[in-house]
């Protein structure tokens, strides 16, 4: 059980900066997700906690101990790898038992603990097989069992679900969440999948180019994005971002259309952000603006309308019973309670609608 704190951590390879002078406090028993596109430094950050990479500068603490100079084996962490990192020449039992054996756990203790861990991830009947004989989902569970067979200070999970097919990923996600609530161990979880981040995390750190863009609860990240990057990265479909300016308290698009009343003073360049579910679909003439449908998609649980809006396209989510076709005209209204305004130069959020 432990806090993890990173203080002014930098990782550089030659001229390339992987992580740029970042600090991060991870609380005891917290489930923290590092979220970002590939190459943003999230995996590097985790590997530095594990001791698989050495930070170029900065200090890493696990509990009260500065671990910068400790080898991975001395850090008392457990890790689940993206490709699972199972030992192909060992049986599942030996795979799970390895962390115990290598730490000199008495023989009599090993078997019951392996069996318990295997039971927790429903692997009991596969213990005598080799990894090759298991499916992807089962291998994933072995990796998980190998991590939970001990009680480490910290769990580290590097995109553990990314190699599973979409359906299995949803099931495993729930199992993972259940397990982590049960075990109550500090966890750092790396992913590029925002749904995983939203569903699993106590807090999410959104990263880009080696810098943490925003650190907050899933709720905060979704409803209170700090900047354009976070706004655009979180949410599916991505938030609509419309370029324009603010004149007389109204947001005016680059094309000159006066769209919606906003709560900031006049400004030349502004980006207006609005999520698809906050774009209401009405009959022509009944919304803020009438537009032509570019594409109509029915996903079953809702429908998506893409409309042409000057040079840009805007996506609106509508009721699943709505039926439309290309080139129909609709009236759109932006929900004034859920608008975000950004400064295009600094990319920072400057206000709400």
């Amino acid at each position: 059980m432990a806090r993890v704190s990173l203080t002014n951590i930098t990782k550089r390879w030659g001229d390339f900066i992987g992580v740029d002078n970042q600090s991060l406090e991870i609380n005891d028993k917290e489930f923290l997700v590092l979220l970002g596109p590939s190459g943003c430094g999230k995996t590097t950050t985790m590997r530095m906690i594990a001791g698989l990479e050495e930070p170029t500068a900065g200090e890493i603490r696990i509990g009260d101990r500065v671990v910068n100079d400790d080898l991975p084996k001395d850090r008392d962490v457990a890790m689940v790898f993206q490709n699972y990192g199972l030992y192909p020449h060992m049986t599942i039992f030996d795979n799970i038992a390895y962390p115990l054996k290598v730490r000199g756990t008495p023989k009599a203790e090993v078997a019951p603990r392996v069996e318990k861990a295997a039971a927790q991830v429903e692997l009991t009947e596969f213990l005598h097989r080799k990894p090759k004989a298991l499916s992807g989902g089962q291998r994933q569970r072995v990796a998980l069992a190998r991590a939970i067979v001990r009680t480490p200070k910290v769990f580290l999970m590097d995109e553990p679900l990314s190699n599973l097919d979409a359906k299995l990923r949803v099931t495993m996600r729930a199992e993972l969440k259940h397990l982590s609530r049960q075990l109550q161990i500090t966890t750092v979880y790396v992913t590029h999948d925002q749904i995983e981040a939203m569903t699993l995390a106590d807090r999410v750190a959104v990263m880009k180019n080696g810098v943490i863009q925003q650190l907050g609860t899933p709720d905060e990240i979704y409803n209170d994005p700090a900047n354009l990057f976070v706004a655009g990265f979180i949410g599916s479909p991505a938030m609509n971002l419309i370029n324009g300016s603010v004149k007389d308290g109204m947001f005016v698009t680059t094309g000159g259309t006066s769209l919606v009343k906003v709560g900031i003073s006049d400004r030349d360049a502004v980006v207006l952000g609005v999520r698809a579910e906050d774009v209401e679909i009405h009959q022509p003439g009944e919304g803020d603006i009438d537009l032509k449908v570019y594409a109509y998609e029915n996903t079953g649980e809702s429908v998506m309308l893409t409309v042409q809006f000057g040079q840009q396209r805007v996506i609106a989510r509508g009721d699943r019973h709505l039926r439309m076709d290309m080139d129909d005209t609709v009236g759109l209204r932006l929900n004034p309670d859920h608008l975000y305004l950004f400064d295009p130069a600094s990319e920072n959020r400057i206000g709400n609608g």
Binding site: G51, K73, Y87, R146
Partner: protein, 290 residues
């Protein structure tokens, strides 16, 4: 043209060449091994004499058994030494980086050297008066200073082994580096995080996963050690006496110095048999399913 005919047509030239240049001589050697086959007599290869040549080798020729012993010891020692050193060197060089990949590039050089030239070079290196290695060993162990290495049966054998190991380490090292590179990195990192130190990671995770490549390397090296000829010919020419006479050299000597082609062919075929066994195991690795 239909693929089903074309596909056989395409392999015909190659199969013909392989048959003409390798399979036919192999079979013809077998035929020769049952004949008198003396170059000095007319009407070559003369009469068939059944297993007479094999009898001769087995029961009347201590020199044959000598070369079997020499070849066996030579093979065991060179295979063991080369593999062990190459494994160590591969572990040292595998991580990459400027120095390590530079040295990896250097490893190509001894391998591109003709074995005959390696033999000559080591005769030079171990010259008692002005050989560089001779001077070096003399410095380390003064009793070895200015020894006439190649005139001493044991030392001549040692020099042959050193030359062989020197020539083969680079290739084996490169193969093993390739093998190490194909081990998934996350299994090694998983072991580190699981709590294993350097030696345990090697013993528990790296080595077991390297076994298939190691087996290939062992078999390949054993095959080439058994065949050894060029270096020994240039280095000691089998001497002093027959102290370093390998089977290949023995066959060469009997066939082309004494003109006993029939007898040579029988010994040669005795040598083919272990080779086929090794090839069988090698082919198993080539066609293994991953």
């Amino acid at each position: 043209m239909q693929d089903k005919r074309l596909k056989y047509l395409l392999v015909v030239p190659a199969v013909l060449v392989v048959f003409a240049t390798a399979i036919w001589p192999l079979i013809d050697s077998l035929r020769l091994s049952f004949t008198v086959g003396r170059l000095t007599r007319p009407n070559f290869p003369q009469a068939y004499i059944g297993l007479e040549n094999y009898n001769w080798a087995f029961f009347d020729e201590p020199a044959f058994w000598n070369s079997v012993t020499v070849t066996s010891i030579y093979t065991i020692v060179t295979v063991a030494l080369t593999t062990l050193i190459a494994l160590g060197l591969a572990m040292l060089l595998a991580p990459g980086g400027r120095l390590r990949s530079g040295v990896q590039t250097l490893l190509i050089l001894p391998f591109a050297m003709s074995p005959a030239l390696i033999g000559v070079s080591f005769r030079f290196m171990f010259n008692p008066e002005f050989g560089l290695f001779d001077a070096f060993f003399g410095l380390l162990f003064p009793p070895l200073a200015d020894i006439s290495w190649l005139s001493d049966p044991v030392l001549a054998f040692v020099v042959c082994v050193i030359a062989d190991v020197w020539g083969w380490i680079p290739f084996l090292t490169l193969v093993l580096i390739g093998g190490l590179a194909s081990i998934p990195r996350d299994t090694i990192e998983a072991a580190q995080v699981d709590g294993a130190g350097g030696w345990r990671v090697f013993k528990d995770v790296t080595l077991p996963q390297l076994m298939p490549v190691l087996a290939v390397v062992l078999i390949l090296k054993a095959i080439f050690s058994l065949k050894t000829f060029d270096q020994v010919y240039m280095l000691t020419n089998g001497g002093p006496g027959t102290a370093t006479q390998t089977l290949s050299h023995y066959i060469y000597f009997n066939g082309f110095k004494y003109g006993q082609i029939g007898y040579s062919a029988s010994v040669a075929w005795l040598m083919v048999i272990p080779m086929l066994v090794l090839t069988y195991f090698y082919a198993k690795f080539v066609f293994r399913k991953d």
